[in-house]
């Protein structure tokens, strides 16, 4: 690397080909996914969009590997200044805030439906005409087990799988924390053990989530298109599940790096980022568990 730095000066990263590769990949993904969805909607056949989509995903994965490799390399060489470390941390925390806001959109939809639109369709508080003229047979309730147009579904209880999943995720947050403590105490064994446990718990959570979906589709007639209850249920838990998947992959990468001897108690940004992300995913689940399942 060409730059020499005394301790006073700033570190400015080198040029990198990865961002533009990533941008192009994102373009392929968007184009591919967009045309695929449109084509399936029209003819039921995905057409050429599928190929573009897959190409995009492959390039994105390659890009991520390349980018992270460079990044890890530079970090291991001690090229990152302390300031850059702070920047990364702050960047990660604001990124998590933006994720929170993304979930807020769907929580907002959930609250709107529960508190406003469903009761309005049932005639509350001064929408008697809506009820009388348009939906005379509809009774407002939550979970919405019968939609205004008559689709019927059952609600997902909170005591079975969901409760187990909650416990799993809560435990995983604790194990994650223990791994972190291990790192700080320079106890690599503890770190490895608890990180492995976290990954395991995350995977079990995902597996159980899949079982729950199968149960919903097969036994409860609770589907993605079963009205606003199913919509909010699947989008909230679905996006959460996607985040758990990403978080788990993230943790697996971290675990691999731990095995390679990476991270020290004063240089472990990636570890911290993964751990923050994991805690965030956990907190979102708590919100979900309370507002989607229990109440």
């Amino acid at each position: 690397m060409s730059q020499q730095h005394d301790s006073q000066s700033y570190y400015v990263p080198e040029q990198s080909p990865w961002p533009i590769v990533g941008a192009f990949a994102l373009f392929l993904i968007a184009l591919g996914a967009g045309t695929t969805i449109a084509k399936i909607h029209q003819t039921g056949d995905p057409g050429w969009g599928k190929t573009v989509l897959i190409a995009g995903i492959v390039i994105v994965v390659l890009m991520m590997i390349g980018w992270f490799k460079d990044q890890i390399h530079e970090s291991m060489q001690g090229m990152h200044s302390e300031q850059l470390g702070v920047s990364y941390k702050q960047g990660m925390s604001w990124f998590i805030l933006s994720e929170v806001m993304f979930f807020m959109a769907f929580f907002g939809a959930l609250f709107y439906a529960r508190v406003l639109s469903v009761p309005w369709l049932g005639g509350e508080p001064n929408n008697e005409m809506t009820h009388l003229v348009l939906w005379p047979d509809f009774t407002a309730m939550w979970p919405l087990e019968k939609t205004p147009d008559g689709t019927e579904t059952q609600a997902m209880g909170w005591t079975g799988l969901p409760l187990i999943n909650t416990l799993i995720l809560l435990t995983s947050s604790i194990t994650m924390h223990m791994a972190h403590v291990g790192l700080e105490k320079n106890n690599r064994k503890q770190m490895k053990l608890f990180l492995t446990l976290t990954v395991l718990l995350g995977s079990i959570f995902l597996y159980l989530q899949v079982l729950e979906y199968v149960h919903a589709y097969r036994d409860l007639n609770l589907t993605l298109d079963a009205g606003i209850y199913g919509n909010t249920f699947f989008l909230l838990t679905g996006f959460h599940g996607m985040h758990v998947t990403v978080g788990t992959l993230f943790l697996i990468v971290i675990l691999a790096r731990v095995w390679c001897g990476h991270f020290s108690n004063d240089n472990h940004f990636a570890f911290m980022a993964a751990s923050w992300y994991w805690h965030f995913v956990d907190v979102v689940w708590l919100g979900l568990f309370i507002f989607v399942y229990i109440i």
Partner: protein, 532 residues
């Protein structure tokens, strides 16, 4: 506010060890905030021309009553894509470009905090707009449901290219969020020692607050388009009463994003004006602290006024009153800003260089737009204004003579710093006067047309509106042509045709950016400057 006690001696050392790479790679791979700033600015300008060309199609169709040039379906695509391109492709990237160029220089940082992400957040934008524009040429056409894409027009009743529209908006959102994170982290973490919060230039402050708005609301937009996607293609019924949803819910989610969005487009403009006015009044900005507080209050209030776009949707009375009062309140901090600028001018030593001309035009014309905004906020009267050209007049005053004028002013203010040469001032003055006259001919009569009852988003109108629309269209063409002067000027300046300028281009200017050489060296502060 901020002065250097020591010259950091930047120009001499910076270029020696790490100059720009050569050729295309420089731009594709760059991690340099100035390169990325330039990319953003040029991209924004090209988008402005494309979006403007669409506006010309609109104005040409509306030149006379009757359908002449385009069919209504295509007309709707033009208004929609015009709005989307101008908002997401022109104004927002232009401000991000300014942020990239100026924030590191203003706070004494060597670059943005996360340079590679910076490159990524730029380069995904052209692709997003490529997708958006491609849809115009596909079967079914591009988005035709307005830039606000109200469901169910954008779901059940839209063409299948809506999927591409949704993904392109996702990418725009990702870009904005990453850009915003970069800005926040840069400001928080990269300030030179001694650059305390209350010494930061207002442009930095306004962008700081804007970045928080972006992080808070762009994900909500992403959520909204995602629900549109699932409603259209995957059978959900978020916006469909038959499944327990509500089309009005879409509007709540959209405007929860949309209203802060309009302040995202104006707060950095306030920062620009707060930089330019003191320079050419040769007097410190009046009420620096209150400017900061006013910006913050506008940002906070912007989260609780969204439903003023929805007064006619049949909200409960209580909601209408709440949103009316909150909206009206925004006039107070905004007024503080206007008054502060005027007080800065008062007993200054004023001269009228081109950036100042645009800044002064901004103050007057933005305020006019603000007044019509206040009128729109009055719920019972909004029932008459809503979805008429009165609204179109309002938002073009705040957006074109507000946001866009401030961007042009910023360009004229900092261009010599960027290129190292003074641009062609004669052309610049011609650009100003042509723009000023034509823009008012373009947008002022829209108030009357709106009050007389002409709805927006219509390709054809009844005969009474004919004469006014003709004048509006003429104003539109003239304003469009005036921008070509700007294009010529920019090309000349970027080719460095003009007199070289000193580090301190304007005699009244203050701030770190004026301490470094012109053109600003590729790497500005490789060691932190000292600030008193």
């Amino acid at each position: 506010m901020t002065t250097l006690t020591e010259n950091p001696n930047v120009a001499a050392t910076a270029d020696t060890h790490h100059g720009p790479a050569k050729g295309l790679k420089r731009w594709l791979y760059t991690t340099n905030h100035k390169d990325i700033g330039s990319l953003y600015l040029w991209f924004a300008f090209i988008m402005f021309l494309i979006g403007g060309a669409m506006a010309m199609v609109i104005r040409a169709e509306l030149f006379q009553p009757g359908l002449q040039i385009v069919d209504p379906h295509f007309f709707n695509q033009m208004t929609t894509v015009h709005g989307l391109i101008m908002v997401f492709g022109a104004v927002m990237p232009a401000f991000t470009g300014l942020a990239n160029w100026m924030i590191p220089m203003m706070i004494g940082a060597p670059d943005m905090a996360l340079p590679r992400m910076n490159n990524f957040s730029f380069w995904i934008l052209p692709f997003a707009f490529l997708i958006l524009i491609m849809t115009l040429f596909m079967e079914g056409g591009g988005p035709a449901f307005g830039w606000t894409f109200y469901a169910p027009l954008s779901t059940t009743y839209s063409s299948d290219t809506t999927a591409l529209f949704v993904f392109s908006v996702h990418i725009m959102g990702i870009s904005s969020i990453m850009g915003a994170i970069n800005v926040i982290v840069t400001i928080w973490n990269m300030r030179a020692p001694g650059m305390t919060w209350m010494k930061m230039p207002l442009f930095v402050w306004t962008w700081f607050i804007t970045a928080f708005l972006l992080i808070a609301v762009m994900p909500v937009l992403a959520g909204a388009v995602t629900m549109v996607l699932t409603d259209k293609f995957f059978g959900t019924s978020f916006f469909d009463a038959a499944g327990g949803g509500d089309p009005v819910m879409f509007q709540h989610i959209f405007w929860f994003f949309g209203h802060p969005e309009v302040y995202i487009m104006i707060l950095p403009a306030f920062g620009v004006i707060s930089a330019i006015v003191p320079t050419f009044a040769r007097k410190p900005l009046f009420g620096y602290a209150s400017m900061v507080y006013a910006t913050a209050s506008i940002a906070l209030l912007s989260f609780v006024v969204w439903a003023h776009h929805m007064f006619t949707t049949g909200m409960p009375l209580f909601g209408e009153l709440f949103f009316m009062y909150c909206t009206m309140l925004i006039s107070v901090p905004t007024g503080v800003k206007v008054f502060n600028w005027v007080a800065t001018l008062w007993r200054g030593s004023i001269s009228f260089e081109v950036p100042m001309l645009f800044a002064l035009a901004f103050i007057v014309l933005f305020t006019i737009g603000g007044f019509s905004g206040l009128m729109l906020a009055i719920t019972p009267v909004d029932f008459q204004y809503h979805d008429t050209y009165f609204v179109v007049a309002h938002f073009h005053y705040v957006l074109v003579t507000g946001a866009v004028f401030s961007i042009i002013a910023a360009a004229y203010y900092w261009l010599p710093k960027w290129t190292g040469v003074m641009y062609d001032v004669t052309l610049a003055k011609a650009h100003f006067w042509c723009s000023l006259i034509s823009v008012n001919l373009l947008f002022f009569p829209m108030h009357f047309v709106g009050l007389a009852g002409m709805p927006r988003r219509i390709p054809d109108y009844s005969l009474q509106f004919a004469d006014f629309n003709q004048w509006i269209s003429i104003g539109g063409f003239a304003f469009g042509l005036s921008q070509l002067i700007f294009l010529a000027l920019l090309i000349k300046a970027c080719r460095k045709q003009g007199k070289p300028v000193d580090a301190k281009v304007w005699d009244g200017a203050e701030g770190l950016e004026w301490e470094v050489a012109s053109p600003a060296p590729y790497h500005t502060f490789s060691t932190p400057p000292k600030i008193k």
